[in-house]
C-alpha cells in the first residue's frame, strides 16, 4: 500500500488538473462558440470601434446626455466597488447632500422635491449600467431642452428602453444608460436633418405632459 501522503499528492494533482484547468478551459471554449458576444464582454461597437460595454457604466457630463448613477470608484472598471459607508455615516450624509445640491443648482425646479433613490446614491459595483425609469424621465426634461428635441419624443425613447423585471416580478424595471444615450445620439442627427416648423408647439405640449408626470410621482 502506498504512503498516505503520496496518495494525497496524486489526488491533489488530479483534482487540480480537472477543476483548476480542465473545467475553466472547456467552458471558455464552449461559450466562445455558443455566445461569443456575451462571452467577450457585451461590447458595443460603433463603426468598428468599441465604445463601451452594455453592462458597464461610463461617465457622461453636461445636460445633453443622460447620466448614470454616482459611482464610488469614478466608473473605473479596473477597481469596481462601493463607498461602504454605514447607514449612520456623516460622510454618507455629506455625499448625498452634495450630489443633491449640485443637481438642484443645475436644475432649480428640483428644489424641495424628493428624488428617485438611485439618482444620488452610489451603486454596489460602482459600474451599475442602469437607472430607474423615474430617474430617466426626470432627466429627459433637461436633456430635451439642451438638445432642443421635443420632450414627448425623448419620453417615448426612454419608454422604449425600459426593461421590465424578469417575468414581471423578479428584479427592478430599469433603463440602460449607454444604450439610451446611443439611441439619443442618433435622434439628435435625424432631428437636426429634418427640423421643421412644428418645433415650438410640440415642445410646449411636451413640457405640459412632464408636469403631469411630476404630480403623479411626487
Amino acid at each position: 500500500m502506498s504512503h498516505p501522503l503520496a496518495t494525497a499528492l496524486r489526488f491533489t494533482l488530479i483534482t487540480w488538473l480537472l477543476c483548476g484547468l480542465g473545467y475553466p478551459l472547456v467552458e471558455v471554449a464552449i461559450n466562445q462558440v455558443l455566445f461569443p458576444a456575451q462571452a467577450n464582454g457585451s461590447l458595443i461597437r460603433v463603426q468598428g470601434r468599441v465604445i463601451g460595454s452594455r453592462l458597464i457604466e461610463q461617465a457622461f457630463t453636461g445636460p445633453r446626455w443622460f447620466h448614470g448613477r454616482p459611482s464610488a470608484v469614478h466608473m473605473n472598471p479596473t477597481q469596481s466597488g462601493a463607498s461602504n459607508l454605514g447607514p449612520l455615516s456623516r460622510r454618507l450624509a455629506r455625499h448625498l447632500a452634495r450630489r443633491r445640491a449640485r443637481l438642484v443648482a443645475q436644475h432649480p425646479s428640483l428644489a424641495g422635491r424628493r428624488l428617485p433613490a438611485d439618482m444620488i446614491t452610489s451603486s454596489g459595483s460602482g459600474l451599475d449600467p442602469d437607472i430607474s425609469p423615474a430617474n430617466a424621465y426626470l432627466q429627459a426634461r433637461w436633456v430635451a431642452r439642451a438638445r432642443d428635441v421635443p420632450l414627448a419624443r425623448l419620453r417615448a425613447l426612454v419608454g422604449r428602453h425600459i426593461q421590465g423585471p424578469w417575468l414581471g416580478l423578479f428584479g427592478q424595471a430599469r433603463v440602460n444608460v449607454l444604450a439610451l444615450n446611443l439611441a439619443l445620439s442618433r435622434v439628435g442627427h435625424t432631428r437636426r436633418a429634418r427640423m421643421g416648423m412644428d418645433r415650438p408647439e410640440r415642445g410646449h405640449r411636451g413640457r405640459r405632459s412632464v408636469r403631469g408626470h411630476e404630480r403623479t410621482s411626487g
Binding site: 500500500m1 498516505p4 496518495t7 494525497a8 496524486r10 489526488f11 491533489t12 488530479i14 483534482t15 487540480w16 480537472l18 477543476c19 483548476g20 475553466p24 467552458e27 471558455v28 461559450n31 455558443l34 456575451q38 462571452a39 467577450n40 457585451s42 461590447l43 468599441v50 465604445i51 463601451g52 460595454s53 452594455r54 458597464i56 461610463q58 472598471p77 479596473t78 477597481q79 469596481s80 462601493a82 461602504n84 454605514g86 447607514p87 449612520l88 455615516s89 448625498l96 443633491r100 445640491a101 422635491r113 424628493r114 428617485p116 433613490a117 438611485d118 439618482m119 446614491t121 459600474l127 451599475d128 449600467p129 425609469p133 416580478l169 423578479f170 428584479g171 427592478q172 445620439s185 410621482s217
Partner: protein
C-alpha cells in the same frame, strides 16, 4: 413590504425547496452506491480517476481517524499549491496585465480562505490576480473545498445511520470526494455556466478591452473566465468574486435572471443535504423537523432583511430621497445596491448568502440598514440556517445533540439520538465544537479593537466600526467570506488573524464532529422504548430551535448590543428631530 417583494421571497423559497427534495434523494443514491442515471457515462470516468489515485487507497474503508487524516493531508497540500501559485503568479502564464505575485501575508490569507470554503478576500480580483490564478488557484479550491465539506457531512450521516454494517467505518474519503465532483459539482456547473454567459457574464481568455466612450474618455474593461467561476462560486457556497464588487458587478451577475439562478444555486445543495440525511439515517420524519426549523429561521431572516432595507433610514429621508416604492423607482436604502436588483433581490441575495455561508454579495452589507446588516451577522453567528456545504447541517445536528441532552435531563429520560446513547464523550466533543465558534470570534474582535493596528483599518467610526470588525471575524469563523467591506483587511494583522480564525473555524469543528461521528458509529444501537425521548416531533423541533436561539443568541447578545443594536437606536434618535429638505 410590497406584494411583489412577498411573492419574490415565496417563489424563490418554493423553487429552491422543490429542487432540493429530488436532489437530496439523488445525493443519497450516489453515496449509498445505488444506481443513478449518470452511471453509464460517469462510471468509467470514476474508475479512471480511482486508478490514477491508487486502487488500494480508494478501496479501503476508513474509520474517523483515517477519514480526518486524508481530509487534512489533501487540504494541506491543496493549500500549499494555492499559496505557491499565488506567490509565483508573476512567472506563470495567462497574466496579460502582468500582475506581480502576492505578498506572503496576503497569499497565506487567500490560500487559507479558499481552501476552507470561506472565500474571504483581502484583495481586489481585477487588479491583483492573473487569469491563470483565477482558474488554477481560485476556481480549483472552490470545487475542492465544497467537496470537502460535503464528504465530511456524508461521513457523519453514515456514522448516525442505523444499519451500519461497517462498524466504526465512515466510508472512503477519496471515493466520496471524486463522486461529489463527478456526480454533482462538475455536471451542474457545466450546464449552468452557458446560461450565465447567455445572460451576459463573460467567459474568455482576453484580459482587458479598451473602450473609447460615447462622450470621449477611455475605459479599460477587465475580462476573463468569469462565468465558469460564478457557477461553482454559488453551487459550492464559496462566494469569492472574480471582481472586487463580487456579485454586484454586472459581469458577475448581469440580470435579475442570473441573480435568481445564483440565489438558487446557493440554496439547493445545503437544503438537499437535509433530505439526504433523512434518507441515509432512514428517518424522514426527523429530516422534515430539521428542514422545517431551518426554513422557519430562513423565512424570518428574509422578511426582516427585505423589510428593513425597503423601509430605508431617516438619514436617507432627510437627504430628500424617495423612500416608498412605485412610479418607476424602488425607494428604500439603495446605497451600495444595483438598480437591476432593486431592494428585494438585493436583500434576498445577501440574506441567502449569509444563511448558506456563501459570502457572495450583490449589494454592499456595510451600507445596509442596522437591522438588515444584523440579520446577516446573526445568521453567521448561529451558522446553521441550512449553512454551507455540509458543515451547516453538522452544526445543526450538534445543536440537536445538545437539545437531546438538555431535554433528557429536564424530563428524566435517557438522552438518545437516532438510537445511539448520548454520553459524556459525545457532550464533551459537541461542547468543544460549539465553543470554538464564539472564542475565535470574540477574542480577536476585542483584541483588534484595543490595538492601534486593529483600529486603523476601520472604514466607519462608532458602533458601526465595531460591527465591521465583529463582522470580519464572524465571517471568518463561520467560513462565510462576506464582509462589511469598509474594513481594510489587507494588513499583516488582519491577514494573519483572519487566516488563523478561518483555519480554526473550519478544521477544529470538522475534526470534533468527525470524532463525535466515530464515537457514535462505534456504539451499538439501542432499541426504542417508552422511555425514549422522541426527536422527530414538532415539539422537539420547537425545543431544538429554542436551544439554538438561547445558546447562540445569548453568547453573542452583549456584542450585538454594542454594535448593530446600538446603531438602530442611534439612527432613529439622531434624526428624530432633524429638519426637512434643503
Amino acid at each position: 413590504m410590497t406584494a411583489s417583494a412577498v411573492w419574490q421571497i415565496v417563489l424563490t423559497l418554493l423553487v429552491a425547496g422543490g429542487l432540493s427534495i429530488p436532489l437530496g434523494h439523488y445525493i443519497a443514491r450516489v453515496f449509498c452506491n445505488q444506481k443513478t442515471f449518470l452511471d453509464p457515462i460517469l462510471d468509467p470516468v470514476d474508475a479512471l480517476i480511482y486508478r490514477l489515485i491508487g486502487r488500494d487507497a480508494t478501496g479501503q474503508a476508513m474509520n474517523w481517524r483515517g477519514y480526518a487524516a486524508s481530509m487534512l493531508w489533501t487540504n494541506v497540500l491543496m493549500g500549499l499549491v494555492i499559496y505557491v501559485l499565488l506567490s509565483a503568479q508573476g512567472h506563470l502564464p495567462l497574466n496579460p496585465l502582468h500582475f506581480a505575485g502576492l505578498n506572503p501575508f496576503l497569499a497565506f490569507n487567500t490560500a487559507a480562505s479558499f481552501i476552507t470554503n470561506t472565500n474571504w478576500q483581502n484583495y481586489a480580483g481585477e487588479s491583483t490576480l492573473s487569469l491563470f490564478s483565477q482558474m488554477a488557484a481560485i476556481t480549483f479550491p472552490m470545487f475542492t473545498s465544497a467537496a470537502t465539506g460535503f464528504v465530511v457531512a456524508i461521513a457523519f450521516f453514515r456514522a448516525l445511520s442505523a444499519n451500519t454494517s461497517q462498524g466504526a467505518n465512515l466510508g472512503n474519503f477519496y471515493r466520496d470526494f471524486v463522486r461529489v465532483l463527478t456526480r454533482l459539482l462538475l455536471p451542474v456547473c457545466l450546464v449552468v455556466t452557458p446560461i450565465l454567459v447567455w445572460q451576459g457574464s463573460p467567459d474568455t481568455l482576453t484580459g482587458m478591452v479598451v473602450a473609447h466612450g460615447l462622450q470621449g474618455g477611455v475605459q479599460h474593461i477587465p475580462l476573463g473566465p468569469v462565468a465558469d467561476l460564478e457557477a461553482i462560486k454559488h453551487l459550492g457556497t464559496n462566494g469569492g468574486g472574480f471582481y472586487n464588487a463580487n456579485s454586484a458587478h454586472p459581469f458577475e451577475n448581469p440580470t435579475p435572471l442570473s441573480n435568481l439562478i445564483e440565489t438558487l444555486l446557493m440554496m439547493v445543495t445545503p437544503m438537499a443535504l437535509v433530505v439526504t440525511f433523512g434518507r441515509m439515517v432512514e428517518n424522514a420524519r426527523l429530516a422534515r423537523v430539521m428542514y422545517g426549523v431551518m426554513a422557519l429561521m430562513l423565512v424570518t431572516a428574509l422578511f426582516i432583511a427585505v423589510g428593513a432595507e425597503q423601509a430605508g433610514t431617516p438619514l436617507l429621508t432627510h437627504a430628500g430621497i424617495m423612500q416608498a416604492p412605485g412610479h418607476g423607482q424602488m425607494g428604500g436604502n439603495m446605497v451600495g445596491k444595483e438598480v437591476r436588483f432593486g431592494i428585494t433581490q438585493s436583500a434576498i441575495f445577501d440574506t441567502v448568502s449569509t444563511a448558506f455561508t456563501t459570502g457572495t454579495v450583490n449589494s454592499m452589507l456595510d451600507s445596509y440598514t442596522p437591522m438588515g446588516g444584523m440579520v446577516s451577522l446573526v445568521q453567521m453567528m448561529l451558522n446553521c440556517v441550512f449553512g454551507g456545504k455540509g458543515v451547516g447541517v453538522l452544526n445543526f445536528l450538534m445543536y440537536g445533540i445538545f437539545a437531546v441532552f438538555i431535554a433528557g435531563l429536564m424530563v428524566g429520560r435517557t438522552p438518545e439520538f437516532l438510537g445511539k446513547k448520548i454520553e459524556k464523550r459525545e457532550i464533551v466533543l459537541a461542547s468543544l465544537a460549539l465553543l470554538v465558534h464564539p472564542i475565535i470570534i470574540l477574542i480577536p474582535t476585542a483584541w483588534s479593537l484595543l490595538a492601534p493596528y486593529g483600529v486603523s483599518s476601520l472604514g466607519n467610526s462608532g458602533s458601526h466600526g465595531l460591527s465591521e470588525v465583529l463582522y470580519a471575524f464572524t465571517s471568518a469563523a463561520a467560513n462565510n467570506g462576506s464582509a462589511f467591506a469598509g474594513l481594510n483587511g489587507n494588513t499583516p494583522w488582519y491577514n494573519v488573524t483572519l487566516g488563523l480564525v478561518i483555519l480554526f473555524g473550519r478544521y477544529a469543528s470538522i475534526i470534533f464532529m468527525l470524532a463525535l461521528g466515530g464515537s457514535l458509529a462505534a456504539k451499538p444501537a439501542v432499541s426504542e422504548t417508552v422511555g425514549t425521548l422522541k426527536t422527530d416531533t414538532m415539539l422537539f423541533g420547537g425545543f431544538w430551535l429554542a436551544t439554538i436561539v438561547v445558546v447562540g443568541a445569548l453568547t453573542f447578545f452583549p456584542v450585538l448590543v454594542l454594535g448593530p443594536i446600538a446603531e438602530v437606536f442611534a439612527l432613529y434618535a439622531h434624526h428624530a428631530t432633524a429638519g426637512g429638505l434643503r
